[in-house]
Amino acid sequence: MISAAGLVAILPLVLLAGTPVALMLIIAVHRSHRMALGLTLLGLAASFGSLWIAADVVPQRVTALLRIDQYALVYFGMIIAATIAVAGLAYGYLEQHAVEKEEFYILLVTAALGAAVLAASSHFVSFFLGLEILSISLYALNAYIYSRKTALEAGIKYLVLAAASAAFLLFGMALIYAAVGTMEFGHMAELMMETAGPNRTLLLPGLAMVITGMGFKLALVPFHMWTPDVYQGAPPPVAAFIATVSKGGMFALLLRYFYRLELHNYAPIVAVFTIIAIASMLGGNLLALLQSNVKRILAYSSIAHMGYALVAFIASGMLAVEAVTFYLIAYFVTIIGAFGVVTVLSNGENDAESLQAYRGLFWRRPALAGVMTAMLLSLIGIPVTAGFIGKFYVVAAGASSSAWPLIIVLVISSSIGAFYYLRVIFALYAGAPETAERPAEVAPRMAFGSSVLVVLTLLLIWLGVYPAPLLHVIRAALPG
């Protein structure tokens, strides 16, 4: 039975689950894009607001499946806020396309629910349920503009690879279950210690397969193959969603899983993560150098950024969790902002993805170019942006536990990364300023997306200059 306090604790999840149901009922009666957006935002805002109500009763174990603690609530907050931003951006984008628009929000909120379940999961069953809720919604979201071949390609590619990785994950879970006889993270740690003999040999392959499943969702090298194609084909708001919410939920789970099972004590696992981190940082940045498509550049850059976050995670000193969480928040703001600019610049026929579309943008639409510049500078890690504090934090976490080789790789690869961000920035400011004609005003349907961008930019600078209040919240949130 779930206690009353338990019900309060899962209130954010309940509201997240209720929103799509309400949306479905409304759509059955009356189709209105505006109403669908309004209801979505209402549901998300209510869920966000209920975090404070839930905060009074945490930590709570709600059945064996979920553990709602401050840590989970912080990630809920990140996931919900990011979903609000994505919904705001998607509105103007969908308006330009001749598709059924309202269902988009059902899928979006359902996917957010899946990610939130991951963040609170403390059991293999909720892990798998959350993952599948998230993935299945994403298959459809990726291919939402179904008249486009690239969108269909993205959807199918994601479907096939996600299904394959889910199979790996399930098999891994089964092996671990066979070895230790429990699916709950809490007991697993001690049982793993005690396990001996032939059962112990099952553990390592099991863990490896689970890591494969996680690595796929986080798009870490060598499980990153799908990323550029999916980011390119999916609508830009969905790409932003995959880059943030989907990865954020999985990262939350990874951290909890790691801490609960005390996996730092397993040298092979740490070694595997070290190799993955190095490969992701170098691979992501080097491959991005070859691209001239902004969406693909952002895709590779997101691979590299997950590698940076892993550095703090592997360092696992006292700073690790707060460093990772802050890094992810900074990354959420930045990448949604960058994809937001892509969204606002896109029109019914084409997404703004070639570098050509950005040439001289500053002289035509200075505000939009300014936002893009701020986001790119944050990705490089330049002061006054959230990315700077994030990078500072990651290096600090690494330095506090003397992980010098990882930090050196981080430094070198992020300098390589600066090169392709600069290419985009240069395109923004290229061209003859005086000859460019004055632009038309931003189309009204993008006004909503533009205001999202303004908020994101302010947030980016606030986090870059005075993150102390947020850090205070993060510091109290340790995965249990």
Partner: protein, 502 residues
């Protein structure tokens, strides 16, 4: 509070320029001029009011602000000024005025954004000279990179993108190495004392084994050496200087390079005296190589801006040499060279820029005999070229002379090699004057001589160089206390270390 004003005026002024330029570029230029002039007057007033009594008696800092920023991590918004910072800040604002005036007719496109970047890069540089919290220092250090990148990448010459990206990557990578060192120092300090602090005065005197100190110092050293620039990490400099617009070159040569020298003086030697001592043979030899190499390459150039750029490599080699020789004479010489080089090289870039505006080339082969048509510009160029090669009576001579004297006490060999560098400088200086201005006017140039605006830029620079050359004592007095303190901390630390070894 005045320290915050220094920076705030520039930041707000830059934003105002950008907004106003939509309606009137002239107003934008005047605002930029007023902003830099206001800061210059403020800094000058601060200097005069405290000279010499307060400057000679200052205990800690002349002025400071210290606000808590991230309490848990021990990060403060701590700006402070002493003699060294004061001189560099005055130089910053003076060259700020010069840069604004030098761009008056050169920059015609994107005027508002140009001045925004110009004023913000000055704000970043001021922040670097004033920050006494290592986090804040790194913050400002990285921040000055972006406006400079834009100045080169948008308003530069033919190969601007290449130059801008190269500049950015060199500085970014070396800056990150410094970040690692800052954090390493922070955690070493924490494990020794149990206190988290980025405060300069706390971190001074952090004891650590020599092999650790060497690694941590190298992170700082590389960042500053790239900026300085030291051979062999100087290769970004000729490109960046050559491709930047005039104002960008003035700021690069006059100020950005000086942040490297400042960092070595303020951080590397006092924070890691033993490691710096251990490293000084390598650093001084690299410095001398830089002096010679810069001078020889300057001689080989035909592009005027490139020529001036390589002379910077040579002159800053003297500064590096002085800092690692480390005695009183050498350090005084380093300070004079820092200021005098800022003025003389800045002026040369202004004149080359003025010339380029007139004849649209920087190639010496396309010049010759210009003295006949533009005697005032040519005369001024000759004056600054003479200053640059170390003509007695002008600022650069005093600096290099003191450095050579100081070095002589430590190593005769290094002194001889560095003095050969002075000899080479005569060659490139004379070549510059002879090829461009003397001889007959074979290309039949008919040009407008210096405009009133350009005279206003150049005349004070001539006077300052004469002042530095004939009566540098006020500048040296301003620096004395700071220098004594820097030297004292370094030697105390070093002795403590030696004592610990025995």
């Amino acid at each position: 509070m005045i320290l915050v004003w220094f920076i705030a005026i520039l930041v707000v002024g830059g934003a105002a320029c950008w907004v106003v330029a939509r309606w009137s570029t002239a107003v934008c230029r005047w605002i930029a001029l007023a902003v830099t002039a206001a800061d210059f007057i403020l800094s000058l007033a601060l200097w005069i009011r405290n000279y010499p009594v307060n400057l000679l008696q200052q205990q800690d800092w002349l002025r400071q602000v210290n606000w808590t920023w991230f309490p848990d991590a021990g990060i403060h918004f701590h700006l402070a000024i002493d003699g060294l910072s004061l001189l560099l800040v005055v130089l910053t604002f003076f060259l700020g005025i010069v840069s604004v005036l030098a761009s008056w007719t050169e920059i015609r496109e994107g005027v508002g954004f140009f001045h925004l970047n110009l004023l913000w890069v000055l704000a970043g540089i001021t922040g670097v000279f004033l920050a006494m919290d290592l986090f804040l220092f790194y913050f400002a250090w990285e921040l000055m990179l972006i406006p400079m990148y834009f100045l080169i990448a948008i308003w530069g010459h033919e190969r601007r993108v290449y130059a801008a990206v190269k500049f950015f990557l060199f500085t970014q990578l070396s800056g990150l190495l410094m970040l690692i060192s800052i954090l390493a120092l922070y955690f070493i300090h924490h494990s020794a004392t149990g206190v988290y602090s980025f405060e300069y005065s706390d971190l001074i005197g952090t004891s650590m084994p020599l092999h650790v100190a060497i690694w941590v110092m190298l992170g700082f050293f590389i960042a500053f050496a790239v900026k300085l620039p030291m051979v062999p990490v100087h290769t970004w400099l000729p490109d960046a200087h050559t491709e930047a617009p005039t104002a960008g070159s003035v700021i690069l040569a006059g100020l950005l390079l000086k942040t490297g020298a400042y960092g070595l003086l303020r951080f590397v030697v006092p924070l890691f005296p033993a490691a710096a001592h251990w490293f000084s043979p390598v650093a001084t030899i690299l410095a001398v190589i830089g002096i010679l190499y810069g001078a020889v390459l300057a001689f080989a150039q035909t592009d005027l801006k490139r020529l001036v750029a390589y002379t910077s490599v040579s002159h800053l080699g003297f500064v590096l040499l002085a800092i690692f020789v480390g005695n009183k004479l050498a350090l005084e010489g380093a300070l004079i060279t820092i200021i005098a080089h800022g003025i003389s090289t800045g002026a040369l870039f202004v004149l080359v820029g003025a010339l380029q505006e007139r004849i649209h080339t920087r190639e010496m082969d396309r010049m010759g005999g210009l003295w006949q048509t533009i005697p005032r510009l040519s005369g001024a160029a000759m004056f600054f070229a003479m200053a640059s090669i170390g003509l007695p009576g002008l600022g650069d001579f005093v600096g290099e002379f003191l450095i050579l004297l100081g070095t002589y006490k430590v190593s005769v060999g290094l002194t001889v090699a560095a003095a050969i560098g002075v000899l080479f400088s005569t060659l490139y200086g004379l070549k510059f004057i002879q090829r461009a201005f003397h001889g007959s006017n074979i290309h039949h140039w008919e040009l407008h001589d210096l405009f009133a605006r350009e005279v206003v830029i150049v005349a004070p620079m001539i006077l300052i160089l004469l002042w530095l050359g004939l009566f540098p004592q006020p500048v040296l007095n301003t620096f004395t206390v700071t220098m004594d303190k820097l030297q004292q901390t370094a030697s105390q630390q070093y002795q403590a270390y030696e004592g610990g070894q025995q």
